[in-house]
Assembly symmetry: C2
Protein backbone atom coordinates (compact mmCIF):
# COMPACT_ATOMS: atom_id res chain seq x y z
CA UNK A 1 0.00 0.00 0.00
CA UNK A 2 1.68 3.16 -1.20
CA UNK A 3 -0.76 5.59 0.37
CA UNK A 4 0.84 7.97 2.83
CA UNK A 5 -2.43 8.98 4.47
CA UNK A 6 -5.58 6.99 5.22
CA UNK A 7 -8.80 7.41 7.16
CA UNK A 8 -10.35 4.54 9.10
CA UNK A 9 -14.05 4.25 8.32
CA UNK A 10 -16.21 2.11 10.61
CA UNK A 11 -19.63 0.84 9.61
CA UNK A 12 -21.45 -0.26 12.75
CA UNK A 13 -24.45 -2.45 11.92
CA UNK A 14 -26.75 -4.65 13.95
CA UNK A 15 -25.02 -7.82 12.72
CA UNK A 16 -21.47 -6.86 11.85
CA UNK A 17 -19.02 -4.06 12.40
CA UNK A 18 -16.72 -3.36 9.48
CA UNK A 19 -13.65 -1.18 9.47
CA UNK A 20 -11.77 -0.10 6.38
CA UNK A 21 -8.78 1.95 5.35
CA UNK A 22 -9.83 4.68 2.93
CA UNK A 23 -7.44 6.59 0.68
CA UNK A 24 -7.77 10.25 -0.14
CA UNK A 25 -9.86 9.67 -3.28
CA UNK A 26 -12.26 7.28 -1.63
CA UNK A 27 -10.47 4.03 -2.46
CA UNK A 28 -11.14 1.27 0.09
CA UNK A 29 -7.62 -0.12 0.52
CA UNK A 30 -8.42 -2.72 3.14
CA UNK A 31 -11.48 -3.85 5.03
CA UNK A 32 -12.48 -6.34 7.67
CA UNK A 33 -15.66 -7.58 9.30
CA UNK A 34 -16.34 -8.55 12.93
CA UNK A 35 -19.55 -9.70 14.60
CA UNK A 36 -21.23 -6.80 16.43
CA UNK A 37 -22.66 -8.99 19.21
CA UNK A 38 -25.37 -6.36 19.58
CA UNK A 39 -27.33 -8.63 21.92
CA UNK A 40 -24.53 -8.64 24.49
CA UNK A 41 -24.74 -4.99 25.53
CA UNK A 42 -22.69 -1.82 24.93
CA UNK A 43 -19.38 -2.84 26.51
CA UNK A 44 -19.11 -5.93 24.31
CA UNK A 45 -20.07 -3.91 21.20
CA UNK A 46 -17.45 -1.28 22.04
CA UNK A 47 -14.87 -4.02 22.37
CA UNK A 48 -15.84 -5.35 18.91
CA UNK A 49 -15.46 -1.86 17.43
CA UNK A 50 -12.10 -1.66 19.19
CA UNK A 51 -11.01 -4.93 17.57
CA UNK A 52 -12.12 -3.86 14.10
CA UNK A 53 -10.32 -0.51 14.31
CA UNK A 54 -7.18 -2.10 15.76
CA UNK A 55 -7.12 -4.67 12.98
CA UNK A 56 -7.38 -1.91 10.37
CA UNK A 57 -4.58 -0.02 12.15
CA UNK A 58 -2.41 -3.14 12.00
CA UNK A 59 -2.91 -3.31 8.25
CA UNK A 60 -2.14 0.30 7.45
CA UNK A 61 1.32 -0.55 6.18
CA UNK A 62 3.01 2.54 7.53
CA UNK A 63 0.39 4.99 6.26
CA UNK A 64 -0.51 7.87 8.55
CA UNK A 65 -4.03 7.57 9.99
CA UNK A 66 -5.73 10.97 9.65
CA UNK A 67 -8.69 10.06 11.81
CA UNK A 68 -11.48 7.60 12.56
CA UNK A 69 -15.06 7.99 11.38
CA UNK A 70 -17.96 5.85 12.61
CA UNK A 71 -21.43 5.52 11.15
CA UNK A 72 -23.86 4.17 13.77
CA UNK A 73 -27.57 3.34 13.75
CA UNK A 74 -29.86 5.39 16.01
CA UNK A 75 -29.76 9.11 16.73
CA UNK A 76 -26.28 10.52 17.26
CA UNK A 77 -26.06 13.83 19.09
CA UNK A 78 -23.46 16.61 18.78
CA UNK A 79 -21.33 15.02 21.50
CA UNK A 80 -21.17 11.63 19.80
CA UNK A 81 -23.71 10.01 22.12
CA UNK A 82 -25.50 7.18 20.29
CA UNK A 83 -29.15 6.88 21.30
CA UNK A 84 -31.39 3.83 21.05
CA UNK A 85 -30.02 2.09 17.95
CA UNK A 86 -32.66 -0.51 16.92
CA UNK A 87 -31.80 -4.12 17.86
CA UNK A 88 -28.97 -3.20 20.24
CA UNK A 89 -29.60 -4.68 23.70
CA UNK A 90 -29.39 -2.49 26.84
CA UNK A 91 -28.36 0.48 24.73
CA UNK A 92 -30.22 3.60 25.75
CA UNK A 93 -27.63 6.34 25.45
CA UNK A 94 -23.96 5.47 25.07
CA UNK A 95 -21.22 8.13 24.78
CA UNK A 96 -19.47 6.23 22.00
CA UNK A 97 -17.17 9.10 21.05
CA UNK A 98 -15.92 9.45 24.62
CA UNK A 99 -15.42 5.70 24.94
CA UNK A 100 -13.47 5.45 21.69
CA UNK A 101 -11.41 8.53 22.56
CA UNK A 102 -10.17 6.60 25.58
CA UNK A 103 -8.97 3.82 23.25
CA UNK A 104 -7.74 5.91 20.31
CA UNK A 105 -7.10 9.27 21.93
CA UNK A 106 -4.50 10.43 19.49
CA UNK A 107 -6.86 10.57 16.49
CA UNK A 108 -9.71 12.88 15.49
CA UNK A 109 -12.90 10.86 15.84
CA UNK A 110 -16.18 11.60 14.03
CA UNK A 111 -19.43 9.79 14.80
CA UNK A 112 -22.65 10.24 12.88
CA UNK A 113 -25.92 8.47 12.25
CA UNK A 114 -25.38 5.87 9.51
CA UNK A 115 -27.83 7.43 7.04
CA UNK A 116 -26.20 10.83 7.51
CA UNK A 117 -22.78 9.23 7.13
CA UNK A 118 -23.87 7.57 3.87
CA UNK A 119 -25.14 10.95 2.63
CA UNK A 120 -21.76 12.50 3.44
CA UNK A 121 -20.07 9.58 1.67
CA UNK A 122 -22.07 10.18 -1.54
CA UNK A 123 -21.27 13.88 -1.23
CA UNK A 124 -17.53 13.37 -0.83
CA UNK A 125 -16.88 10.30 -2.96
CA UNK A 126 -20.05 9.30 -4.82
CA UNK A 127 -22.93 10.52 -6.99
CA UNK A 128 -23.09 13.83 -5.12
CA UNK A 129 -19.49 14.90 -5.63
CA UNK A 130 -20.43 17.80 -7.90
CA UNK A 131 -23.78 18.58 -6.22
CA UNK A 132 -23.75 20.98 -3.29
CA UNK A 133 -27.38 20.41 -2.19
CA UNK A 134 -29.29 17.14 -2.31
CA UNK A 135 -31.63 14.82 -0.51
CA UNK A 136 -30.07 11.41 0.07
CA UNK A 137 -32.43 8.47 0.45
CA UNK A 138 -31.70 5.00 1.76
CA UNK A 139 -34.32 2.72 0.29
CA UNK A 140 -34.07 -0.74 1.77
CA UNK A 141 -35.55 -2.43 4.82
CA UNK A 142 -36.96 0.93 5.77
CA UNK A 143 -36.73 4.33 4.15
CA UNK A 144 -34.29 6.81 5.68
CA UNK A 145 -32.12 9.60 4.50
CA UNK A 146 -29.83 12.51 5.01
CA UNK A 147 -29.85 16.08 3.77
CA UNK A 148 -26.77 17.70 2.25
CA UNK A 149 -26.80 21.50 2.20
CA UNK A 150 -23.85 23.39 0.86
CA UNK A 151 -21.82 20.13 0.92
CA UNK A 152 -22.43 19.66 4.65
CA UNK A 153 -24.85 17.38 6.44
CA UNK A 154 -27.97 19.10 7.82
CA UNK A 155 -28.44 17.42 11.19
CA UNK A 156 -31.35 19.49 12.47
CA UNK A 157 -31.53 20.92 15.99
CA UNK A 158 -30.97 17.56 17.73
CA UNK A 159 -29.30 15.41 15.06
CA UNK A 160 -32.50 13.67 13.94
CA UNK A 161 -33.03 15.29 10.53
CA UNK A 162 -33.49 13.29 7.33
CA UNK A 163 -36.25 10.89 8.42
CA UNK A 164 -37.98 10.96 5.08
CA UNK A 165 -39.53 7.50 5.50
CA UNK A 166 -42.23 8.88 7.73
CA UNK A 167 -43.64 11.49 5.44
CA UNK A 168 -47.33 10.68 4.98
CA UNK A 169 -48.56 10.10 1.44
CA UNK A 170 -52.09 9.07 2.41
CA UNK A 171 -53.64 10.20 5.66
CA UNK A 172 -56.05 7.27 5.40
CA UNK A 173 -53.29 4.87 4.46
CA UNK A 174 -52.04 1.65 6.10
CA UNK A 175 -50.53 1.60 9.58
CA UNK A 176 -46.78 2.08 9.70
CA UNK A 177 -44.69 0.47 12.40
CA UNK A 178 -43.89 3.98 13.68
CA UNK A 179 -47.52 4.15 14.83
CA UNK A 180 -48.63 6.66 12.22
CA UNK A 181 -50.62 6.01 9.07
CA UNK A 182 -49.76 6.18 5.39
CA UNK A 183 -46.03 6.86 5.82
CA UNK A 184 -44.16 6.29 2.57
CA UNK A 185 -42.14 3.56 4.32
CA UNK A 186 -45.42 1.67 4.81
CA UNK A 187 -45.71 1.51 1.01
CA UNK A 188 -42.18 1.05 -0.25
CA UNK A 189 -40.14 -0.37 2.65
CA UNK A 190 -38.89 -3.92 2.11
CA UNK A 191 -41.42 -5.68 4.32
CA UNK A 192 -44.45 -3.89 2.94
CA UNK A 193 -43.27 -4.23 -0.63
CA UNK A 194 -42.76 -7.98 -0.25
CA UNK A 195 -46.17 -8.27 1.37
CA UNK A 196 -47.92 -6.39 -1.45
CA UNK A 197 -46.12 -8.51 -4.01
CA UNK A 198 -47.30 -11.71 -2.26
CA UNK A 199 -50.87 -10.40 -2.27
CA UNK A 200 -50.77 -9.51 -5.93
CA UNK A 201 -49.29 -12.87 -6.92
CA UNK A 202 -52.50 -14.60 -5.82
CA UNK A 203 -54.12 -13.42 -9.02
CA UNK A 204 -50.99 -13.85 -11.16
CA UNK A 205 -50.06 -17.54 -11.31
CA UNK A 206 -47.99 -16.77 -14.45
CA UNK A 207 -45.51 -14.54 -12.62
CA UNK A 208 -41.88 -15.66 -12.59
CA UNK A 209 -41.65 -14.78 -8.93
CA UNK A 210 -43.43 -18.03 -8.05
CA UNK A 211 -40.50 -20.05 -9.43
CA UNK A 212 -37.86 -17.76 -7.93
CA UNK A 213 -39.25 -18.43 -4.42
CA UNK A 214 -40.11 -22.09 -5.16
CA UNK A 215 -43.72 -21.38 -4.36
CA UNK A 216 -42.97 -20.03 -0.86
CA UNK A 217 -44.21 -16.44 -0.82
CA UNK A 218 -42.59 -15.77 2.55
CA UNK A 219 -39.28 -15.84 0.67
CA UNK A 220 -40.12 -12.78 -1.41
CA UNK A 221 -37.63 -10.00 -0.96
CA UNK A 222 -36.75 -6.96 -3.07
CA UNK A 223 -33.74 -8.69 -4.63
CA UNK A 224 -36.10 -11.35 -6.02
CA UNK A 225 -38.67 -8.81 -7.22
CA UNK A 226 -35.83 -6.96 -8.88
CA UNK A 227 -34.49 -10.12 -10.52
CA UNK A 228 -37.95 -11.00 -11.83
CA UNK A 229 -38.35 -7.48 -13.20
CA UNK A 230 -35.02 -7.78 -15.02
CA UNK A 231 -36.34 -10.98 -16.59
CA UNK A 232 -39.38 -9.14 -17.89
CA UNK A 233 -41.89 -10.19 -15.25
CA UNK A 234 -44.88 -7.86 -15.49
CA UNK A 235 -46.03 -8.10 -11.87
CA UNK A 236 -42.55 -7.37 -10.57
CA UNK A 237 -42.13 -4.39 -12.87
CA UNK A 238 -45.51 -3.00 -11.87
CA UNK A 239 -44.76 -3.31 -8.17
CA UNK A 240 -41.41 -1.54 -8.51
CA UNK A 241 -42.78 1.19 -10.76
CA UNK A 242 -45.60 1.89 -8.33
CA UNK A 243 -43.12 1.95 -5.45
CA UNK A 244 -40.88 4.37 -7.32
CA UNK A 245 -43.82 6.62 -8.01
CA UNK A 246 -44.94 6.63 -4.38
CA UNK A 247 -41.42 7.33 -3.16
CA UNK A 248 -41.17 10.19 -5.66
CA UNK A 249 -44.42 11.68 -4.36
CA UNK A 250 -43.01 11.81 -0.84
CA UNK A 251 -39.66 13.19 -2.00
CA UNK A 252 -41.37 15.95 -3.99
CA UNK A 253 -42.96 17.39 -0.84
CA UNK A 254 -39.63 17.45 0.96
CA UNK A 255 -37.89 18.98 -2.06
CA UNK A 256 -40.58 21.71 -2.20
CA UNK A 257 -40.16 22.52 1.48
CA UNK A 258 -36.37 22.51 1.42
CA UNK A 259 -35.92 24.03 -2.04
CA UNK A 260 -33.92 21.04 -3.29
CA UNK A 261 -33.57 19.86 -6.91
CA UNK A 262 -31.57 16.67 -6.60
CA UNK A 263 -32.24 13.38 -4.86
CA UNK A 264 -29.73 10.54 -4.69
CA UNK A 265 -31.18 7.09 -3.98
CA UNK A 266 -29.12 4.46 -2.20
CA UNK A 267 -29.93 1.29 -0.27
CA UNK A 268 -30.73 -2.17 -1.59
CA UNK A 269 -33.74 -1.13 -3.65
CA UNK A 270 -31.83 1.53 -5.55
CA UNK A 271 -30.15 -1.32 -7.39
CA UNK A 272 -33.48 -2.63 -8.72
CA UNK A 273 -32.82 -1.00 -12.06
CA UNK A 274 -32.69 2.29 -13.90
CA UNK A 275 -36.40 2.09 -14.67
CA UNK A 276 -37.17 2.42 -10.96
CA UNK A 277 -34.95 5.49 -10.57
CA UNK A 278 -36.65 6.90 -13.68
CA UNK A 279 -40.06 6.28 -12.09
CA UNK A 280 -38.99 8.18 -8.98
CA UNK A 281 -37.73 11.04 -11.15
CA UNK A 282 -41.00 11.19 -13.13
CA UNK A 283 -43.05 11.33 -9.96
CA UNK A 284 -40.90 14.03 -8.40
CA UNK A 285 -41.17 16.18 -11.53
CA UNK A 286 -44.93 15.71 -11.60
CA UNK A 287 -45.37 16.68 -7.96
CA UNK A 288 -42.92 19.53 -7.32
CA UNK A 289 -43.74 23.19 -7.77
CA UNK A 290 -43.21 24.71 -11.20
CA UNK A 291 -39.98 26.65 -10.54
CA UNK A 292 -38.24 23.40 -9.53
CA UNK A 293 -39.46 21.10 -12.31
CA UNK A 294 -36.85 21.71 -14.99
CA UNK A 295 -33.91 21.13 -12.64
CA UNK A 296 -35.09 17.94 -10.94
CA UNK A 297 -32.62 15.07 -11.06
CA UNK A 298 -32.97 11.72 -9.33
CA UNK A 299 -29.75 9.72 -9.36
CA UNK A 300 -28.71 6.29 -8.13
CA UNK A 301 -26.13 6.29 -5.36
CA UNK A 302 -22.67 5.16 -6.44
CA UNK A 303 -20.93 3.76 -3.40
CA UNK A 304 -22.79 0.44 -3.26
CA UNK A 305 -21.41 -2.06 -0.75
CA UNK A 306 -18.72 0.36 0.37
CA UNK A 307 -21.21 3.08 1.31
CA UNK A 308 -20.96 2.40 5.04
CA UNK A 309 -17.18 2.52 5.29
CA UNK A 310 -16.80 5.42 2.84
CA UNK A 311 -19.56 7.39 4.53
CA UNK A 312 -17.89 6.90 7.89
CA UNK A 313 -14.52 7.95 6.43
CA UNK A 314 -16.22 11.06 5.07
CA UNK A 315 -16.84 12.16 8.67
CA UNK A 316 -13.17 12.97 9.08
CA UNK A 317 -12.62 16.40 7.54
CA UNK B 1 -42.74 59.74 19.58
CA UNK B 2 -39.91 59.37 22.05
CA UNK B 3 -38.11 56.58 20.25
CA UNK B 4 -34.59 57.42 19.21
CA UNK B 5 -34.29 54.56 16.70
CA UNK B 6 -36.85 53.02 14.38
CA UNK B 7 -36.93 50.54 11.49
CA UNK B 8 -39.22 51.04 8.52
CA UNK B 9 -41.09 47.83 7.73
CA UNK B 10 -42.84 47.56 4.36
CA UNK B 11 -45.54 44.99 3.65
CA UNK B 12 -45.96 44.70 -0.11
CA UNK B 13 -49.23 43.00 -0.99
CA UNK B 14 -51.18 42.55 -4.20
CA UNK B 15 -53.72 45.20 -3.16
CA UNK B 16 -51.95 47.57 -0.81
CA UNK B 17 -48.46 48.48 0.27
CA UNK B 18 -48.13 49.40 3.92
CA UNK B 19 -45.15 50.97 5.62
CA UNK B 20 -44.71 51.33 9.35
CA UNK B 21 -42.26 52.66 11.88
CA UNK B 22 -41.21 49.91 14.26
CA UNK B 23 -39.56 50.52 17.65
CA UNK B 24 -36.86 48.33 19.09
CA UNK B 25 -39.28 46.07 20.96
CA UNK B 26 -41.57 45.55 18.02
CA UNK B 27 -44.01 48.37 18.69
CA UNK B 28 -45.66 49.70 15.52
CA UNK B 29 -45.42 53.44 16.17
CA UNK B 30 -46.94 54.61 12.92
CA UNK B 31 -48.31 53.01 9.82
CA UNK B 32 -49.81 53.95 6.48
CA UNK B 33 -51.41 52.20 3.51
CA UNK B 34 -51.14 52.98 -0.19
CA UNK B 35 -52.65 51.17 -3.18
CA UNK B 36 -50.11 48.84 -4.81
CA UNK B 37 -51.46 49.31 -8.34
CA UNK B 38 -50.06 45.88 -9.10
CA UNK B 39 -51.83 45.83 -12.47
CA UNK B 40 -49.85 48.86 -13.69
CA UNK B 41 -46.42 47.21 -13.86
CA UNK B 42 -43.20 47.35 -11.83
CA UNK B 43 -42.28 51.03 -12.19
CA UNK B 44 -45.65 52.16 -10.83
CA UNK B 45 -45.44 49.65 -7.98
CA UNK B 46 -41.93 50.84 -7.09
CA UNK B 47 -43.22 54.41 -7.03
CA UNK B 48 -46.00 53.36 -4.62
CA UNK B 49 -43.42 51.69 -2.36
CA UNK B 50 -41.37 54.89 -2.58
CA UNK B 51 -44.39 56.96 -1.48
CA UNK B 52 -45.18 54.64 1.44
CA UNK B 53 -41.58 54.68 2.71
CA UNK B 54 -41.25 58.45 2.25
CA UNK B 55 -44.48 59.03 4.16
CA UNK B 56 -43.18 56.87 7.02
CA UNK B 57 -39.88 58.81 6.95
CA UNK B 58 -41.82 62.08 7.19
CA UNK B 59 -43.55 60.84 10.31
CA UNK B 60 -40.49 59.60 12.17
CA UNK B 61 -40.44 62.65 14.43
CA UNK B 62 -36.68 62.96 14.56
CA UNK B 63 -36.01 59.29 15.25
CA UNK B 64 -33.03 57.73 13.53
CA UNK B 65 -34.01 55.21 10.83
CA UNK B 66 -31.84 52.08 11.26
CA UNK B 67 -32.91 50.53 7.99
CA UNK B 68 -35.72 49.49 5.70
CA UNK B 69 -37.13 45.97 5.46
CA UNK B 70 -39.53 44.80 2.76
CA UNK B 71 -41.62 41.65 2.66
CA UNK B 72 -42.68 40.86 -0.92
CA UNK B 73 -44.72 38.07 -2.52
CA UNK B 74 -42.95 35.71 -4.94
CA UNK B 75 -39.49 34.24 -4.68
CA UNK B 76 -36.81 36.66 -3.50
CA UNK B 77 -33.22 35.74 -4.28
CA UNK B 78 -30.05 36.58 -2.37
CA UNK B 79 -29.60 39.79 -4.34
CA UNK B 80 -33.08 41.10 -3.57
CA UNK B 81 -34.50 40.26 -6.99
CA UNK B 82 -38.24 39.62 -6.69
CA UNK B 83 -39.45 36.88 -9.06
CA UNK B 84 -42.97 36.37 -10.38
CA UNK B 85 -45.12 37.59 -7.48
CA UNK B 86 -48.66 36.29 -8.16
CA UNK B 87 -51.11 38.94 -9.48
CA UNK B 88 -48.40 41.50 -10.34
CA UNK B 89 -48.60 42.50 -14.02
CA UNK B 90 -45.48 42.44 -16.24
CA UNK B 91 -43.37 41.39 -13.30
CA UNK B 92 -40.99 38.59 -14.18
CA UNK B 93 -37.81 39.45 -12.31
CA UNK B 94 -37.38 42.89 -10.76
CA UNK B 95 -34.21 43.90 -8.85
CA UNK B 96 -36.24 45.59 -6.12
CA UNK B 97 -33.33 45.98 -3.73
CA UNK B 98 -31.23 47.76 -6.37
CA UNK B 99 -34.15 50.01 -7.31
CA UNK B 100 -34.87 50.99 -3.72
CA UNK B 101 -31.17 51.52 -3.01
CA UNK B 102 -31.24 54.23 -5.68
CA UNK B 103 -34.04 55.97 -3.79
CA UNK B 104 -32.91 55.32 -0.20
CA UNK B 105 -29.21 54.70 -0.64
CA UNK B 106 -28.20 55.77 2.83
CA UNK B 107 -30.04 52.97 4.62
CA UNK B 108 -29.47 49.24 4.96
CA UNK B 109 -32.23 47.55 2.96
CA UNK B 110 -33.46 43.99 3.50
CA UNK B 111 -35.87 42.22 1.15
CA UNK B 112 -37.37 38.82 1.74
CA UNK B 113 -40.30 36.70 0.64
CA UNK B 114 -43.36 37.72 2.70
CA UNK B 115 -43.85 34.31 4.34
CA UNK B 116 -40.17 34.21 5.32
CA UNK B 117 -40.45 37.79 6.59
CA UNK B 118 -43.47 36.86 8.71
CA UNK B 119 -41.53 33.88 10.13
CA UNK B 120 -38.68 36.23 11.04
CA UNK B 121 -41.23 38.61 12.60
CA UNK B 122 -42.63 35.86 14.84
CA UNK B 123 -39.08 34.88 15.73
CA UNK B 124 -38.00 38.40 16.69
CA UNK B 125 -41.18 39.87 18.12
CA UNK B 126 -43.88 37.21 18.35
CA UNK B 127 -44.72 33.68 19.47
CA UNK B 128 -41.25 32.44 18.51
CA UNK B 129 -39.22 34.88 20.60
CA UNK B 130 -37.95 32.17 22.93
CA UNK B 131 -37.87 29.37 20.34
CA UNK B 132 -34.70 28.95 18.28
CA UNK B 133 -36.10 26.41 15.79
CA UNK B 134 -39.62 26.29 14.41
CA UNK B 135 -41.76 25.81 11.35
CA UNK B 136 -43.88 28.86 10.63
CA UNK B 137 -47.10 28.33 8.71
CA UNK B 138 -49.30 30.89 7.01
CA UNK B 139 -52.73 29.37 6.78
CA UNK B 140 -55.05 31.56 4.74
CA UNK B 141 -55.88 31.81 1.05
CA UNK B 142 -53.15 29.29 0.46
CA UNK B 143 -50.79 27.49 2.79
CA UNK B 144 -47.23 28.79 2.94
CA UNK B 145 -44.51 29.03 5.46
CA UNK B 146 -41.00 29.74 6.57
CA UNK B 147 -38.45 27.76 8.51
CA UNK B 148 -36.51 29.25 11.40
CA UNK B 149 -33.30 27.42 12.33
CA UNK B 150 -31.12 28.75 15.09
CA UNK B 151 -33.16 32.01 15.05
CA UNK B 152 -32.38 32.60 11.38
CA UNK B 153 -34.50 32.02 8.31
CA UNK B 154 -33.67 28.90 6.30
CA UNK B 155 -33.99 30.07 2.69
CA UNK B 156 -32.80 26.93 0.94
CA UNK B 157 -30.32 26.93 -1.93
CA UNK B 158 -32.31 29.41 -4.06
CA UNK B 159 -34.54 31.20 -1.56
CA UNK B 160 -37.60 29.06 -2.19
CA UNK B 161 -37.72 27.02 1.04
CA UNK B 162 -40.79 26.81 3.27
CA UNK B 163 -43.42 25.84 0.69
CA UNK B 164 -45.27 23.55 3.04
CA UNK B 165 -48.62 23.95 1.25
CA UNK B 166 -47.57 21.52 -1.45
CA UNK B 167 -46.73 18.56 0.69
CA UNK B 168 -48.92 15.68 -0.48
CA UNK B 169 -51.22 14.08 2.09
CA UNK B 170 -53.01 11.78 -0.36
CA UNK B 171 -51.40 10.70 -3.59
CA UNK B 172 -54.87 9.95 -4.95
CA UNK B 173 -56.27 13.23 -3.64
CA UNK B 174 -57.91 16.18 -5.39
CA UNK B 175 -56.08 18.30 -7.95
CA UNK B 176 -54.26 21.30 -6.52
CA UNK B 177 -53.85 24.47 -8.55
CA UNK B 178 -50.09 23.81 -8.54
CA UNK B 179 -50.85 20.92 -10.90
CA UNK B 180 -50.10 18.17 -8.40
CA UNK B 181 -52.56 16.03 -6.50
CA UNK B 182 -53.51 15.84 -2.82
CA UNK B 183 -51.40 18.79 -1.64
CA UNK B 184 -52.43 19.88 1.85
CA UNK B 185 -53.35 23.28 0.40
CA UNK B 186 -55.96 21.50 -1.73
CA UNK B 187 -57.63 20.41 1.52
CA UNK B 188 -57.23 23.34 3.89
CA UNK B 189 -56.60 26.43 1.74
CA UNK B 190 -59.37 29.02 1.87
CA UNK B 191 -60.98 28.23 -1.48
CA UNK B 192 -61.06 24.47 -0.98
CA UNK B 193 -62.26 24.80 2.59
CA UNK B 194 -65.14 27.05 1.56
CA UNK B 195 -66.01 24.68 -1.25
CA UNK B 196 -66.11 21.64 1.05
CA UNK B 197 -68.23 23.55 3.52
CA UNK B 198 -70.71 24.45 0.78
CA UNK B 199 -70.90 20.80 -0.27
CA UNK B 200 -71.47 19.59 3.26
CA UNK B 201 -74.19 22.18 3.93
CA UNK B 202 -76.40 20.53 1.32
CA UNK B 203 -77.18 17.83 3.84
CA UNK B 204 -77.23 20.20 6.85
CA UNK B 205 -80.10 22.67 6.49
CA UNK B 206 -79.89 23.34 10.24
CA UNK B 207 -76.37 24.84 10.08
CA UNK B 208 -76.01 28.46 11.16
CA UNK B 209 -73.80 29.12 8.17
CA UNK B 210 -76.89 29.33 5.95
CA UNK B 211 -78.06 32.43 7.84
CA UNK B 212 -74.58 33.96 8.01
CA UNK B 213 -74.34 33.94 4.21
CA UNK B 214 -78.03 34.74 3.70
CA UNK B 215 -78.44 31.51 1.77
CA UNK B 216 -75.70 32.39 -0.76
CA UNK B 217 -73.09 29.66 -0.44
CA UNK B 218 -70.65 31.53 -2.68
CA UNK B 219 -70.22 33.92 0.24
CA UNK B 220 -68.70 31.28 2.49
CA UNK B 221 -65.26 32.21 3.68
CA UNK B 222 -63.15 31.03 6.60
CA UNK B 223 -64.13 34.03 8.75
CA UNK B 224 -67.76 32.92 8.49
CA UNK B 225 -67.00 29.27 9.16
CA UNK B 226 -65.00 30.41 12.17
CA UNK B 227 -67.84 32.66 13.41
CA UNK B 228 -70.32 29.81 13.06
CA UNK B 229 -67.98 27.49 14.96
CA UNK B 230 -67.72 30.02 17.79
CA UNK B 231 -71.51 30.03 17.94
CA UNK B 232 -71.52 26.27 18.37
CA UNK B 233 -72.35 25.26 14.82
CA UNK B 234 -71.53 21.57 14.44
CA UNK B 235 -70.78 21.55 10.70
CA UNK B 236 -68.43 24.51 11.03
CA UNK B 237 -66.60 22.92 13.93
CA UNK B 238 -66.27 19.63 12.08
CA UNK B 239 -64.88 21.31 8.98
CA UNK B 240 -62.28 23.24 10.97
CA UNK B 241 -61.29 20.26 13.11
CA UNK B 242 -60.79 18.13 10.02
CA UNK B 243 -58.77 20.89 8.39
CA UNK B 244 -56.60 21.22 11.49
CA UNK B 245 -56.01 17.51 11.52
CA UNK B 246 -55.06 17.41 7.85
CA UNK B 247 -52.72 20.37 8.25
CA UNK B 248 -51.14 18.64 11.26
CA UNK B 249 -50.56 15.49 9.23
CA UNK B 250 -48.59 17.46 6.64
CA UNK B 251 -46.65 19.39 9.27
CA UNK B 252 -45.66 16.17 11.05
CA UNK B 253 -43.85 14.89 7.96
CA UNK B 254 -41.90 18.13 7.64
CA UNK B 255 -41.10 18.17 11.36
CA UNK B 256 -39.81 14.56 11.10
CA UNK B 257 -37.58 15.41 8.16
CA UNK B 258 -36.23 18.63 9.65
CA UNK B 259 -36.06 17.48 13.27
CA UNK B 260 -38.37 20.29 14.45
CA UNK B 261 -40.61 20.28 17.54
CA UNK B 262 -42.48 23.56 17.27
CA UNK B 263 -44.85 24.93 14.69
CA UNK B 264 -46.31 28.44 14.81
CA UNK B 265 -49.49 28.99 12.83
CA UNK B 266 -50.32 32.41 11.40
CA UNK B 267 -52.58 33.67 8.63
CA UNK B 268 -56.33 34.26 8.67
CA UNK B 269 -57.29 30.74 9.64
CA UNK B 270 -55.05 30.67 12.69
CA UNK B 271 -57.57 33.00 14.31
CA UNK B 272 -60.39 30.46 13.92
CA UNK B 273 -60.04 29.45 17.55
CA UNK B 274 -57.88 27.60 20.01
CA UNK B 275 -59.67 24.35 19.23
CA UNK B 276 -58.28 24.42 15.69
CA UNK B 277 -54.73 24.97 16.92
CA UNK B 278 -55.31 22.12 19.38
CA UNK B 279 -56.49 19.89 16.52
CA UNK B 280 -53.30 20.65 14.58
CA UNK B 281 -51.23 19.85 17.68
CA UNK B 282 -53.03 16.54 18.25
CA UNK B 283 -52.48 15.48 14.66
CA UNK B 284 -48.80 16.43 14.72
CA UNK B 285 -48.26 14.45 17.94
CA UNK B 286 -50.04 11.45 16.45
CA UNK B 287 -48.00 11.48 13.26
CA UNK B 288 -44.44 12.38 14.29
CA UNK B 289 -41.81 9.85 15.26
CA UNK B 290 -41.62 8.78 18.87
CA UNK B 291 -38.55 10.78 19.97
CA UNK B 292 -40.29 14.02 18.97
CA UNK B 293 -43.74 13.39 20.45
CA UNK B 294 -43.29 14.69 23.97
CA UNK B 295 -41.82 18.03 22.86
CA UNK B 296 -44.32 18.92 20.13
CA UNK B 297 -45.90 22.34 20.49
CA UNK B 298 -48.22 24.02 18.01
CA UNK B 299 -48.77 27.69 18.80
CA UNK B 300 -50.85 30.47 17.30
CA UNK B 301 -48.85 33.33 15.81
CA UNK B 302 -48.99 36.54 17.83
CA UNK B 303 -48.39 39.40 15.46
CA UNK B 304 -51.84 39.39 13.85
CA UNK B 305 -52.52 42.36 11.56
CA UNK B 306 -49.07 43.77 12.14
CA UNK B 307 -47.31 40.61 10.98
CA UNK B 308 -46.40 42.03 7.58
CA UNK B 309 -44.83 45.25 8.85
CA UNK B 310 -43.13 43.62 11.84
CA UNK B 311 -41.84 40.76 9.74
CA UNK B 312 -40.37 43.23 7.26
CA UNK B 313 -38.80 45.25 10.09
CA UNK B 314 -37.28 42.02 11.37
CA UNK B 315 -35.21 41.84 8.18
CA UNK B 316 -33.05 44.69 9.40
CA UNK B 317 -30.51 43.21 11.77
Amino acid sequence: MSHSQVIIGVDLGGTSVKAGLVGSNGEVLYQNKFPTNADKGPSVVIEQIHLAIQDAMNNRDGAEVRGIGIGAPGVVDDDGVVKAPPNFADWDEVPLKTELSKLFGGYPIGIENDANAAAIGESKYGAGKEIPNFLFVIWGTGVGGGIILDRKIFRGPTGGAGEIGHVCIDYNGPLCNCGSRGCVEAYVGQRYLSQRTAERLQSHPESKIWQLVSGDLSKIEPKIISEAAHNGDVVAKEILLEAGELLGTALAGVMNVMDLRVSIIGGGLSAAGDFVIAAVQDAVVRHVLKPLKKDIRVLAARLGNNAGILGAAGLVA
